[in-house]
Amino acid sequence: MTENTTNLTVRTDRRLVRAIHHSTRYALVEITAPPANAAPVRPRVNVAFVLDRSGSMGGRNKFDLARDALREGIERLAATDRFAVVVYDTEIDVVAPGRTADATAKEAAIRRLRDVGPRGGTNLSGGWLRGAEQVSSALDPEAVNRVLLLTDGLANAGITDRTELERHAGELRARGVSTSTFGVGEDFDERLLGAMADAGGGAFRFIANAAEIPALIRSEVGELLEVTAKDVELRISGPDGLRVEPLAAYRFERSARGGVLHVGDLVADQVVRLVLAIGFPLGEPGRDVGVEFAIRDRAGSLDGSATLAWAFADGIANDHQSRDRDVDRVVARTYADRALRDAVDLNRRGEWDAARTNLAAVARKIHRYAGHDEVLRGIVAELEREAEAWSVARMEIDRKQMYSRSAYALKSRMPDGAAQRRP
C-alpha cells in the first residue's frame, strides 16, 4: 500500500498486525525535496569554515589543498551571504570574523588565509565553537546557518570527549546552527566526526586522499548553496501505545503517540529514504489502525501528509499475508549497514568474535524472510563474507572506508557522500 503526496511517499512491508500480540512493522518513507526552480530565491547562507592547521595537516599538501578549496568556496558566495574563517591548532585564530560576503570581505579573508600555515596540536572543540560563535552572532532563521569543520587528527586539546561534543552539536542544532564535518586521511576519529554531523544536522564526509579535498569541499559548498528545504521534520502520529523507532541516523524526539524525526536541510531534488520500525498496540480483529506521516520545513516549500492504515488480524492471517519486497529490501539493507558500521568499531577494539557474531546474526535474521528474493539473498551473502573479513585486524583506511560507506547509506547518500537526487 502506498500513500502519496507530491513530496512524500509511505509504504509498509506488511498490512496486517496481530490482534493479541505486539507486532513490529516497517514504514519506508521517501521524501523528495523541491527542485531548484521551485523557490525563486535560494535561502541565504551563513557559514563558518573551520580549518585544522595542526602540524600533521602539513603532510601531503593537505593544508594547501584545503586552503585553496576554501578560497574557491568563499568566492562562490553571493553578496547576500555571510561567512567567517577560523583556523585552529592548540590556539584558535578567527582569520575572518563573520561578515557579509561582499568583494572586499572576500579579498581580505583570502589574503589573510594566505599567511596561515600548519603548526601545533589539535583543539578541535575550540575551533569548532569559535566557528559556531561567528555563525550564531548573526543567526538568521531564514538562512542556512552552518559550520564546516575540516580536520585530519584527533581532538587532543579543549573538549575531547566524543559524547560531550556530540551533545553540544545537537544542542546547537536545536538552536539553529548545523555542523558538517570532513575527515582527511586515516588519523581522525570518524565516530566523533560522524556523531557530530548526525547530531548537528549536517553531513559527514570522508576524504581518503588529500587530492580529493577540493572536490569534496566544492560538493559540500555546492549543496549549501542549493538548499531548497530547511529544517525538514517528519511527524509521525497514531493511536496511544504506538511506538516508533527510526533506524536511520537522524535525531528523533519521541512523544506519546509517535514522534518527530529531524531530517535537516535538503538540497534541490534530494531524495531521502528512511525506515521506521513501528511497534503496535493490541486491537480488535478487523479494525484498522492508522498512522499519519506529515512533513514540513521552515521555508514552507515542503508540506504534506499521508496516512497509512494497518488492520488487526489473527495469527493465521498474519502468518500468510503478502509482503512488499521493495520495503523488505530497504529494511534489510538498513540493518546490514548498521551492523557493518558497528563492525568497524568492534574490529578496532580487537573484539573479533563480536564483530563476526553480530554480522552473522543479522545475516541469519534476513535469511529467515529472504525466501527466493535475489536482492535479499545477496545481502545475506555479503554479510556472511563481511563477517569473516571483519574478524581479523583490518587497516585503518579500510575501517574508514567501511564506516563512511555505511554512514552515507544510512543517510540516503551516494557512495561518495553526496546527496542522492531525483533523476
Binding site: T24, L139, H168, E171, G176, G238, E245, E253, E284, V289
Partner: protein, 197 residues
C-alpha cells in the same frame, strides 16, 4: 489544515466508530451536521478526541469531561491534547556557545532519547518487543497486582485482550512461545463462544 473521515479519526485515536458517534450524540464533540460517508471532521475534532482519551485515562466521568470540554476553546483543546509541538529551548545559540567557550556547562534543553536498539524485522513472531511498552511505564489503574514473587524491575508488562466490552483477558508478557499459542487458542475459543451467544 488537514481534515479526517470518521474511519480515519477512529484509526488515529483507536476509538471505535460507534464510540465517536456516541460522543457526537452526547455533545462531547461538535456535530458535523449531516453525517454521511463523505463527511469530514476538522483537526480540532481529533484534538478533542485525544483530550477525551486523556481525561478518560485519568478516570474522569463523562459528565466531568463534557463540562471541561465546554469550558475550553479550540486552541486550549489542541494545547491540552498534547499535539507534538516543539519544546521551548532555553537560551540562544550564541549564549550556548559563549558559555562553552568560557568553560561553563550550559543547561541542556531536553533529555535525549537513547540510541535506537536493534529490532528484528520479524519481531512479532517473538512475543516481546525489544523496547519497553507504554503499559510497562504507566500501568492502567485497573491492572491486577504483579504476581507474588515477581522480581523487582523484571522487564514484563500486562496486556489487556478485549473479548467483549465487559470481558477482558489479562496477559503478562513476555511469554514463551507455547504460552503465546495457548493465549491464541484461549482468545479464539472465547470469541467463538461470543459468536455463539
Amino acid at each position: 489544515m488537514p481534515d479526517y473521515s470518521l474511519s480515519e479519526l477512529s484509526a488515529l485515536t483507536g476509538l471505535p466508530v460507534r464510540t465517536i458517534r456516541y460522543y457526537v450524540a452526547e455533545g462531547l464533540i461538535p456535530s458535523p451536521g449531516k453525517e454521511g460517508p463523505s463527511t469530514r471532521y476538522p483537526d480540532t475534532t481529533l484534538a478533542r478526541l485525544r483530550l477525551i482519551l486523556r481525561l478518560r485515562d485519568a478516570h474522569q466521568p463523562l459528565a466531568a469531561i463534557r463540562a471541561r470540554l465546554e469550558s475550553l476553546g479550540d486552541d486550549e483543546v489542541i494545547a491540552l491534547a498534547g499535539t507534538d509541538t516543539e519544546q521551548p529551548r532555553p537560551g540562544s545559540a550564541l549564549d550556548y556557545v559563549r558559555s562553552l567557550l568560557a568553560g561553563e556547562t550550559p543547561a541542556a534543553s531536553e533529555e535525549r532519547a537513547p540510541p535506537p536498539s536493534y529490532v528484528e524485522p520479524d519481531a512479532d513472531i517473538l512475543a516481546a518487543p525489544s523496547y519497553p511498552l507504554p503499559s510497562e511505564i504507566e500501568p492502567p489503574a485497573s491492572m491486577p497486582p504483579p504476581r507474588p514473587g515477581a522480581a523487582l524491575g523484571e522487564r514484563s508488562h500486562w496486556d489487556r485482550v478485549v473479548i467483549t466490552p465487559d470481558i477482558e483477558l489479562h496477559v503478562r508478557r513476555p511469554l514463551s512461545r507455547p504460552a503465546n499459542r495457548m493465549v491464541d487458542r484461549l482468545v479464539a475459543f472465547a470469541r467463538q463462544l461470543k459468536e455463539e451467544e
